[in-house]
Amino acid sequence: MPVVLEHLGKRFGDGAPVLDDVNANIKQGEFVALLGASGCGKSTLLNIIAGLEAPTSGALEVPSDGAAFMFQDAALFPWLTARENIELALKLRGVGKSERRAKAQELLELVHLGAAGDKRPHELSGGMRQRVSLARSLAQDRQLLLMDEPFAALDAITRDLLHDELERIWKETGRTIVFVTHNVREAVRLGQRVLLLSSRPGRVVQEWAVTEEHRTDAGLAGQLTGVITARLREEIRRHAK
């Protein structure tokens, strides 16, 4: 069990808790979509799992080597080419120089950017940048990959393609993925399990399993999307004054 969250809570200073009694178990190789409206502490939860922040209560179990992280904006270093960005991740991991080059090319090929390695981030489109960013997070070679709304800023056409891409890469690499999103369709499209977080404080209120049939049957997927959306709106309505 790579990730276990037990009664996890987080508050900043004396403010209201952001997360309260969050419980979740994420299996090895599982793809979990973490869904919630704004203010549900999705990003805070991800930061806690990544070890960037500490919880104020509860316990968590994460892989000892930490987690790879992919941000909403690609966050590539503009002074490096696409390849050098990936090589930097390998270098900081302690991979030797000759091996770095081969490994970076391999990862570029994996995200279908084998020919764009020498381009700089500003010469790439938003989707290409996110793919380089994905390759960089894979270069970290962690079993656990945390993704914080990585496709939120992309156009619809690119996003649809990247969903396919991410699913393919997940299957090829066998990573455990925790994918944060506020897009119900995205959660249903990608996750094997969709966890719905309530807002203020964030807590896992319900979860749904997504089967292989949902991947090919749009009607089935649409139905599930409808059910989850209704539950999400119920959560949001609770905050109406």
Binding site: A50, L52, G66, A68, F69, F71, D73, A75, F77, P78, W79, L80, L88, A89, K91, L92, R93, H112, A116, K119, R120, P121, H122, E123, L124, S125, G126, G127, M128, R131, R136, Q140, A156, I157, T158, R159, D160, L161, H163, D164, E165, E167, R168, R185, E186, V188, R189, H214, R215, T216, D217, A218, G219, L220, A221, G222, T225, G226, T229, A230
Partner: protein
């Protein structure tokens, strides 16, 4: 919400397509939209080429070379015109030709070469040593908050203090030696470079540090692989200003401190012209000091800065 009969698709095909590939089953956003790795690769490469700009070729921009030359020619003509009006005595305001002749004389005496070489060498050596001192100090101040709180105001103050103010002190401490000149150069350049580097570090998007942390960078790796390159545009600005301060301080020091074992630089030439009341020598020295400044900018800082900005995609729309 949609029922089973109507597939939900953001990019639903309007016309039922001919069955060449299973495009009819594409329900973007909810289900798989591509039909395997090859299909995905093809789609992505199509989208990539649609979304990226075509490479632009770099040509020699003649206006970049011709316009400054034209501006210089106009200025010289205005100067010559003013002189030929005869408003002032010729020995007070010499014409371009008089100054050129004087430069020729200085060249033949070997004085011009000696002055330019001495000053340039000192300026560059002083500047390079300043860079070597200021860079680690700047990084340390930018990264360690208590140090910065303690020394930041002092460094800013030193940057504002005209380094000429150090000349009397330096002469008393070091006498009329090269040490005096270098000391003044350091006091001019080092604070500027430190401040440039610090402000460069301050402007780094916080995201870069987070990425560095997530990628597992140690403190030193963070400083060298992330902070320093990210701060490079600001650092380069600091270097430019540092060079300007070195060069100015050097000239001030050379004008004030003459004799001893201090060699013969452009400042010394300028001072000699003043003592001899020879305006052509004074003008020659001023123009040479100016020319060195322009050449360093054109040959060193200009290209470096342009390359840096272009590589980061910061040049679009600028007038550089």
């Amino acid at each position: 919400m949609p029922s089973n009969q109507t597939p939900v698709a953001e990019t639903e095909p309007v016309v039922e397509p001919v069955e060449t590939r299973p495009a009819a089953h594409v329900h973007a956003a909810l289900t798989r939209t591509s039909t395997g790795n090859e299909d995905l690769r093809e789609l992505e490469s199509g989208l990539d080429s649609l979304q990226s700009d075509a490479d632009r070729k770099h040509r020699i921009e003649w206006s970049r070379i011709l316009l400054p030359i034209a501006a210089l020619a106009v200025l010289i003509l205005v100067w010559q015109f003013y002189v030929s009006l005869g408003v002032k005595r010729r020995d007070l305001v010499p014409g371009p030709l008089d100054v050129m002749t004087q430069m020729g004389v200085l060249w033949n005496e070997g004085k011009l070469q000696e002055a330019v070489w001495t000053s340039l060498q000192r300026g560059l050596v002083g500047f390079l040593i300043s860079v070597a001192i200021a860079t680690p100090v700047g990084l340390l101040l930018a990264q360690v908050a208590p140090l910065r709180r303690a020394f930041g105001p002092l460094i800013s103050g030193l940057q504002v203090l005209p380094s000429v103010a150090w000349v009397p002190a330096a002469i008393i401490w070091f006498g009329l030696t090269d040490a005096t000149v270098y000391f003044v150069v350091f006091m001019g350049a080092i604070p500027s470079i430190i401040n440039g580097l610090i402000s460069g570090v301050d402007q780094i998007p916080p995201q870069y540090r987070r990425v560095g942390t997530v990628l597992g960078a140690s403190r030193l790796q963070m400083a060298l692989q992330v902070i320093l390159p990210a701060a490079l545009p600001g650092y380069l600005g600091g270097l430019k200003q540092g060079w300007a301060f070195s060069w100015r301080s050097l000239m001030a020091a050379e004008i004030i401190a003459v004799g001893g074992t201090i060699g013969f630089g452009l400042g010394s030439l300028l001072d000699q012209g003043r003592i001899l009341s020879d305006m052509t020598v004074v003008m020659s020295a001023i123009l040479l000091i100016l020319a060195v400044g322009i050449l360093i900018e054109l040959l060193v800082f200009g290209p470096v800065e342009k390359r840096l900005l272009r590589r980061r995609g910061l040049l679009a729309g600028s007038t550089r």
